[in-house]
Every structure is written in structure tokens, then in C-alpha cells.
Amino acid sequence: MARIHIATEYQSKRVTRSDGAELRAAIEKYWADAEPVVLDFSGVRIASVSFFDESLGRLALLHPVEELTTRVKVENIDPADRRLLDDIVRSRSRERTESDSAPFPG
């Protein structure tokens, strides 16, 4: 099972959208694995909409949320970060569903 320790891998680069894009690319490398990839947030607090949105939020736009939560496991995350992450993923998931069900133009 692949494990990404955020504090070690990203150090202080865990705030911006480009930092989030790097995490998303790292997750996507393991997307086809049989086992989920584990994101270990021990020792770090993110507190960034941009980082979560560009990493897991963007994945929630591309994949159903059930698939996302099966392929990605989150451990040792700060409770407030968990809440923020959930809000962002739910918001992007709704956006994905709305765009899927939108009528064709014209």
C-alpha cells in the first residue's frame, strides 16, 4: 500500500494550488493500484482551501466520490482540516453531478 507522508514529502510546500497539483499528480500515480493510497497528515495542519481543492477537490470533479474515497485513504488529519477537505470534496462532487446531468445546450 502506497503511503504519502505529507509533512515529510511536502514540508512547507503545502498551501498553494501548485502544491496541491503536485499532491494530485502523486495520488494519480497510484490510482490504478489494487490498494488505496494513504495520505498521512500527522504532524501537519494544512488550513488551505487551495491545496485541498487542487488535489482532492479536483479529483472529485473527475471521479465519483465513492471511487475517490475507495482509492484514497486519509489518516491522522487535523479535525478542522478533515471538515474543510470534506466540504471541498462534497462541493466539487456536486459540481460534477450537476454538469453530468445538465441538458445539452441548444
Binding site: S12, K13, R14, V15, T16, R17, R45, A47, S48, V49, S50, D53, E54, G57, R58, L61, V65, T69, V72, K73, V74, I77, D78, P79, A80, R82, R83, L84, L85, D86, I88, V89, R90, S91, R92, E95
Partner: protein
């Protein structure tokens, strides 16, 4: 020009003296921006005179500091006359305004006025850690919202403002109101220009105030072409206003302020860039969302 401003050309030294009003807070943004504009138009030496100022707020201090940064970048000499009022003088010292005026940089472990040229998690971690350890009653949980707002404000500056000075940041804790005030000022293209450039949702035909209102309240509105985004300013407003706070955004020729559900618009002279102040109680109780279940 407001009566609080006094332009005086010293016959001998040819210094343009710009006198700040008695209050230099977000409430006086109109006068302060006029002062900034005049200082930035001036090619010769400028003296920013705070001698009559009795009250400073983070917005006012950060805006004044941005004038020093802008003029310093173009090699134009700028001086500061400190306040005569002892409280105001102590405040200017404490927040590092007098040091900033002569080009000193704030250390990492301080809450002093800071010029930032890149977003670094170490800084926002440090600010929240100092508040958590230095403010009685402040917990790590409470300080989360401060870190969140600071990260989002700075992310916006460094992603699209194109500000030649980066930004000026000031965070202050107010014991009496138990509130924190954060001011972030950049001198870039401004929120309306960033959104208009991408011709997002016909905003290019709307006023600066309308564009700012849309940026702060409309979900998924972003200047990022064909990409995700548009949650940052909305999250800040929700975080601040749900804690009985106030968010004020001044950008180009508009000033808007959110307090609870109420939005107020004010007349503003054009400001090159964006100046934001948030003021809220991090420990204010926020009702839990019913039926919340974690996803991950």
C-alpha cells in the same frame, strides 16, 4: 482633498509632506487611498507625516507600508514622521511601522508588519502558533480559522495579483474585543481586472463593485481559465461572517464590506491593487452542521 490632508512643499528641501488623518483605519480608507495615490505620483521626496494620527488599524498601517514599498522599489526617498500621541507612537513601534519605513525587515517569530514576496507555510504556521501561545484563551482549534484566512488571502495575492511589491501583511490581536484583525495589501492588477481579463461570466461589463461582490459570493467563480477554483474568498467571507466578523475588500475603484448577511458598498478613490481587512472573533461559536458525516 479632505481637510485632514495637508500638502506642504518645503521651500528648502522640496519635500512633499503628506499628513495622515487622526485615524488611519479601514474606516478612513478613502482619505488614506488618496494619500497613497498622491505619494505614488510624486517623483521627489515624500514625508509621510503621522504626527496627528491617534489611532491606527492594520488596514491603515499596511496601506501606508505599501506606499513605502512601492516608492522604495522605484528608488524614491520616503520618510516617516512618527505620531506625537504616545499610544499611537507605541502602536507604530510595536507593529514595526517605524522600522519598516527605514527598510528593516521583520523577524520570523514576530507579528510585525511584513513584506512578503512568496507564500510560505512557515510564515502562516508561525503567525497562528504565536497567537495560540501568546493570547490567553486562544486554542489551536480557534487559531485554525486565522491560518485558513491568511493562507487564502496570500494565495490570491501570489496567484494572480501580479503585484510588484508582493504584499504587505499585518496581523493583530485585540484583547478588548477578543478579535483578530488581518490586513493584506497588494499593489497589483486588482480583483476586478483579474476576473475581467478572463471574461468570466460577462463580468467585463460590470462595475468594479459588482465584480468584487461576485468574486466573494459566487461559488466557483475564478479567474483561472478552464480550471477549478473560486472557493477562497467565499470561504473567507463565510468563516469571518459566521463568527460575527467583518470582511472589507477595497480593489480598484470599489470598497465593499460584509458583516453578517449585510453587504455595504462605499465610494472609493481608485486604488492600484487590493487591500483586504478581516476582523473576527476566532472563538465565536459556530453552529454545527446537522447530520455531518466525514467522507474520508
Amino acid at each position: 482633498m479632505d481637510v485632514d490632508f495637508r500638502r506642504a512643499n518645503d521651500d528648502h528641501a522640496c519635500v512633499l509632506r503628506l499628513t495622515l488623518p487622526a485615524r488611519a483605519t479601514v474606516g478612513e480608507s478613502f482619505q488614506l487611498i488618496e494619500l497613497c495615490n498622491e505619494a505614488e505620483r510624486e517623483v521627489g521626496e515624500v514625508e509621510v507625516d503621522c504626527s496627528r494620527t491617534k489611532v491606527f488599524g492594520p488596514f491603515g498601517v499596511a496601506l501606508i507600508a505599501s506606499v513605502f514599498s512601492t516608492r522604495r522599489k522605484s528608488g524614491r526617498p520616503t520618510g516617516l514622521t512618527p505620531p506625537l500621541d504616545p499610544d499611537a507612537s507605541a502602536f507604530a513601534e510595536e507593529v514595526g511601522l517605524t522600522k519598516f519605513a527605514v527598510g528593516h525587515r521583520a523577524g520570523l517569530r514576530t507579528l510585525e508588519l511584513r513584506e512578503m514576496t512568496a507564500l510560505d507555510a512557515v510564515y502562516t504556521d508561525s503567525v497562528t502558533s504565536m497567537l495560540t501561545h501568546g493570547v490567553p484563551g486562544m486554542t489551536s482549534e480557534n487559531s485554525y480559522t486565522i491560518q485558513l484566512c491568511l493562507n487564502e488571502l496570500l494565495q490570491n495575492v501570489f496567484e494572480w495579483s501580479e503585484s510588484p511589491i508582493g504584499c504587505i501583511v499585518l496581523a493583530r490581536w485585540y484583547k478588548k474585543s477578543r478579535s483578530v484583525r488581518l490586513a493584506v495589501v497588494d499593489r497589483g492588477i486588482g480583483i476586478p481586472a483579474a476576473l475581467r481579463r478572463e471574461r468570466v461570466r460577462a463580468l467585463h461589463r460590470q462595475s468594479d463593485a459588482d465584480v468584487i461582490e461576485a468574486a466573494v459570493t459566487t461559488p466557483r467563480l475564478t479567474s483561472r481559465a478552464n480550471q477549478v477554483g473560486g472557493l477562497g474568498l467565499k470561504t473567507i467571507r463565510e468563516t469571518v461572517c459566521s463568527r460575527r466578523g467583518r470582511l472589507t475588500v477595497v480593489s480598484l475603484a470599489a470598497k465593499l464590506s460584509w458583516s453578517g448577511d449585510r453587504l455595504s458598498r462605499f465610494k472609493s478613490p481608485p486604488l492600484r491593487g487590493t487591500a483586504i481587512e478581516i476582523d473576527f472573533r476566532p472563538d465565536a461559536e459556530v453552529p454545527d452542521e446537522p447530520g455531518y458525516t466525514p467522507l474520508f
